[in-house]
């Protein structure tokens, strides 16, 4: 109940900020619409529409694309052309232009969004340069002079009605933009976007279809910009060439960062403040560069999250003061007690994300914990037979995972050399080897984040070598990372919910309607409760101890009930006592699912694994049970140093 409440609260809060802007904006337009101050306010609202889109694309999802001013130009020039040459009313031309902009953005985006990080920024940085070069020489757009409009956003014979009516339409546009943006950000897709922004690799490993999301974000940013541009053209009745140049782009970015890049309201307020100051004060207008430079520096120094961040920190501080509490401390954090049995009981009955097949579903006979390892150790035949009964997904005798002659080179360096192994549908399998042996690379090849140079990866006998990590996640492969990859700035609950999202096949626009974040959070909360970690639910992850961070990552990997769990040194940095608890948990997980475990603690591996693989310099040098492992001269000389 608590979790669904949390989802609803943030959604309603974001709506109330939209309502606030619309109501206050409408009042300002009605009262001052015919005066100079009112017209300045309306102009700033046009920019605010653009920055609302930027908050989603650039601030929240960290996809830095310098395409906003260009698409603002597309909207403005498009409306000007349709209005002046085809006599189309501005209000009719606006949706036409937005559709055009969406199509153009789809085309352009399908090329540029293949790039990520700096490459995306640099490639799109050319767009304003190309646009301004084109526009300044294009006669039909008015060249350097600019393009006039014959009509207005709100056609009327009285100037008062034109000003006030047009202003109200702009405020309505702004309201729609904020509504759409905040609905998306507060939904389950908003969580996807947040992870994408922090770490694209983790997002892909957790099933987020990153190429699709990046394209959608690009199109969304462009359409918002086009709407802002159309509003600009309709209210100013003139489109200057400077609307599309790089300086305009940079000015938009400054508005976003001063206001607060991750907050829709912040981005809108940033645009309103900067643009309004510029129009209202002559001194500011003349010295706008100095003002923007100083403001941006000061805001970033005080809080990188901008004005919104400063306000949030202030509010939190006031609240803490009123409640008589100090700043959040690590008070009360002690190692969580993993409640293993309950995890077993609960999650086997839970439905899975995206309908991924789940071994060990209800009805399948489950061995008691003690003989689970024995069964797994019995090998492939028994494992395969069980798959048929339990999951019905694999054929008898076909291993769950098969690596065939995997090879990987980086430049001239051979990291993996002809590695062949097969794993049944349940059991715990150790992967050992000295540093640099290729263990993590093998895990990455299986998980899909690193393509092998040679060889094949098969899941249920199906070749998945070329599939990206997100598709493998949907087929039931889940993983943890060697260095903890949690999403900072979010709670434990949200971090676990990341792997429970049912939104991967839905479009961004669908989340304007219904969010399914609450469901994902409920599932995550259930997993946390089952693991005995519910106490940590609302903590921000970077405030946790290393052990608890690792446990959260493990919970995130377990929550979707994977068929194949890849664990990269889950015990590193843990104490003896913590390791023992982890071993207990792993053993029981291995009863239900297939676990491939990289670990340096040989005793831990020998205790929990039914079969152990040893890699050395990229080659598989040992493959056998724990007793052979303990006795093997290869293992002893390689790993123990005997």
């Amino acid at each position: 109940m608590m979790t669904s409440m949390a989802g609803t609260v943030s959604r309603t809060r974001s709506l109330s900020s939209t309502a606030l802007v619309v109501i206050v904006g409408a009042i300002i337009v009605l009262v001052y619409g015919q005066q100079y101050a009112g017209s300045v306010f309306i102009l700033s609202a046009c920019y605010a529409i653009v920055t609302a889109g930027m908050a989603v694309q650039i601030g929240f999802s960290q996809q830095i694309a310098f395409s906003q001013s260009v698409f603002m130009g597309v909207g403005a020039y498009g409306v000007a052309l349709l209005n002046t040459h085809y006599n189309m009313p501005v209000l009719v031309a606006t949706p036409v232009v937005m559709i055009g902009a969406a199509l153009a953005a789809l085309l352009l985006g399908s090329v540029v969004t293949r790039a990520s990080g700096l490459a995306l920024a640099v490639a799109t940085l050319m767009l304003p340069l190309i646009a301004v070069g084109y526009v300044s020489s294009a006669g039909y757009l008015g060249g350097v002079v600019g393009a006039p409009l014959s009509g207005t956003l709100w056609p009327s014979s009285s100037t008062a009605a034109i000003a006030v009516g047009g202003g109200l339409v702009v405020i309505a546009f702004l309201g729609i933009a904020m509504f759409v943006a905040s609905r998306i950000l507060s939904s389950d897709i908003g969580l996807e976007l947040f992870v994408l922004g922090v770490d694209e690799r983790t997002a892909a490993a957790m099933g987020v279809r990153t190429p699709r999301r990046k394209l959608e974000l690009f199109v969304l940013g462009c359409v918002f910009a086009a709407l802002g541009g159309a509003a600009y053209a309709g209210t100013q009745q003139f489109v200057p060439e400077t609307l599309v140049d790089p300086t305009a782009e940079l000015a938009l970015l400054i508005m976003l960062f001063i206001g607060g890049r991750r907050s829709i309201l912040g981005a809108v307020v940033g645009a309103l403040v900067i643009q309004y100051l510029q129009g209202a004060s002559n001194w500011v207008s003349v010295n706008i560069l100095v003002v923007e430079g100083v403001l941006l520096t000061v805001v970033l120094l005080v809080d990188p999250e901008g004005l919104a961040g400063i306000v949030n920190t202030g509010v939190a501080w006031l609240r803490a003061r009123r409640a008589g509490e100090a700043a959040p401390s690590r008070r009360g954090e002690w190692p969580i007690q993993l409640a293993i049995g309950r995890w077993m009981g609960h999650s086997s009955g839970k439905e899975t994300v995206d309908g991924a097949a789940q071994p060990g579903a209800d009805g399948a006979p489950r061995d008691a914990g003690a003989d689970g390892a024995v069964v797994a150790a019995a090998g492939f035949a028994a494992g395969g037979a069980r798959v048929e009964v339990a999951a019905g997904a694999a054929h008898a005798g076909v291993p769950l995972l098969e690596c065939r002659a995997i090879g990987k080179e980086y430049g001239g360096l051979t990291v993996l050399d002809d590695v062949t192994l097969a794993l049944p549908d349940r059991g715990l399998f150790g992967l050992c080897g000295p540093n640099g042996a290729g263990k993590t690379t093998l895990l990455n090849v299986i998980g899909g984040s690193v393509p092998p140079s040679r060889g094949q990866v098969l899941l249920d006998g199906e070749d998945i070598t070329r599939r990206p990590p997100q598709e493998r996640f949907h087929q039931g492969i889940s993983r943890t990372f060697q260095a903890v990859h949690l999403v900072k700035g979010r709670t434990v609950l949200d971090n676990v919910a990341v792997s429970c999202l049912a939104s991967h096949n839905s479009s961004i626009v669908s989340r304007v309607g219904r969010s399914r974040l609450a469901e994902a959070r409920e599932k995550a909360a259930q997993t946390l409760t089952d693991l005995g970690m519910q106490r940590l639910k609302d903590r921000e992850v970077s405030s946790l101890t290393l052990e608890n961070q690792r446990m959260v990552e493990l919970a995130r990997a377990l929550a979707p009930s994977p068929r194949l769990l890849l664990l990269d040194e889950p015990a590193s940095g843990l104490s003896e006592e913590q390791r023992r608890r982890l071993a207990d948990l792993l053993r029981q997980v291995g009863d239900r699912t297939c676990v491939l475990l990289i670990e340096h603690d040989l005793e831990l591996v020998a205790q929990v694994s039914s079969r152990i693989f040893v890699l050395s310099s990229g080659r598989l040098v040992f493959d056998g049970g724990p007793s052979d492992f303990r006795a093997s001269p290869v293992v002893n000389s390689l790993l123990v140093g005997l």
Partner: protein
């Protein structure tokens, strides 16, 4: 000889881009910040000398020295006040905020102050080497152009030697690779950040003084130069000054050839389209690390 002259002109423009690209790349290597204000220091150099010499009537050497001292002192103060809080303070800023936006704000600030002090007209520092343009066979080269080329070679070469052969250069590399690791082994990473920042600001100012007689500067010229330098640095993989230098020259020559043979009007548009296509075609090969996220 149109081709030869175009290439020569392209090399001169290209060497401007190249120097700024090298400045961006070296500093990025030290502290993982892209200096988007480096071109603005060039603008201050050019317009500052012009203002002191032509308007205030100071002798040229005094004007140059004063301008350079002001630029150096400002860069030092900026590092001490802003960058120190941003990078070394208790609330260390991270990711794109630092990579892009601090020096971006600095660029706006410098341009705004320049507008207050120098106005909006096109000006240039007086030519340092007066006379007719030089002619070899049918190739023409302005004297200032030759100076620009020489400066580029000296600056590029000096950085190359410094990084490649001196202990300071190794320490500088270490600072950017792993700042904490560098500090553990006793490298004062902050000192290198400050040193290179002030040095590149001074280099940019000198370059602006030498180059401005060719193109003429306004208070907004700095942003354009920074942008092209940034692009050239990008094609050099941001961290590699040598490749940044070559990329700058390449962009300059390509720009001149496109302007001469394709279209004077749309030459730049085509140039940027080609550059964008290159980033998208070989993002790995050109060395675009995902420096933005995280």
């Amino acid at each position: 000889m149109k081709f030869g002259n175009l290439v020569l002109a392209g090399l001169v423009t290209g060497s401007i881009y190249a120097v700024f690209a090298v400045c961006v790349a070296v500093w990025y290597r030290v502290c993982n910040i892209l200096n988007l204000a480096v071109g603005d220091f060039a603008m201050v150099g050019a317009l500052g000398v012009d203002n002191l010499y032509r308007v205030k009537g100071l002798p040229l050497p005094v004007a140059i020295a004063t301008t350079l001292i002001v630029v150096g002192a400002f860069a030092y103060a900026y590092d001490q006040v802003v960058l120190r809080i941003a990078q070394d303070g208790p609330r260390r800023s991270e990711g794109i905020v630092v990579t892009f936006f601090f020096t971006f704000a600095l660029s706006f600030f410098i341009d705004g102050v320049a507008k207050m002090l120098f106005g909006t007209d096109v000006h240039a520092a007086p030519a340092l080497w007066n006379g007719q343009s030089l002619t070899f066979a049918s190739l023409h080269l302005e004297r200032a152009g030759l100076l620009v080329l020489l400066c580029a070679i000296v600056i590029g070469g000096a950085f190359w030697v410094y990084i490649r052969y001196t202990l300071g250069g190794k320490a500088l590399e270490a600072s950017g690779e792993n700042s904490i690791g560098a500090r553990i082994v006793g490298i004062d990473t902050r000192r290198y950040r400050r040193l290179i920042f002030v040095a590149t600001a001074l280099i940019a100012a000198v370059f602006g003084i030498v180059e401005s007689p060719i193109t003429g500067y306004t208070y907004l010229s700095g942003a354009t130069i920074s942008l092209t330098g940034f692009l050239a640095a990008a094609y050099g993989g941001f961290r590699k000054p040598g490749r940044a230098l070559l990329a700058g020259l390449f962009i300059g020559v390509l720009e001149a050839l496109l302007g001469g043979y394709v279209s004077a009007e749309y030459g730049d548009t085509v140039l940027y389209a080609i550059l964008a296509a290159m980033v998208l075609a070989w993002p790995r090969g050109l060395g675009f690390e995902s420096a933005v996220s995280g």
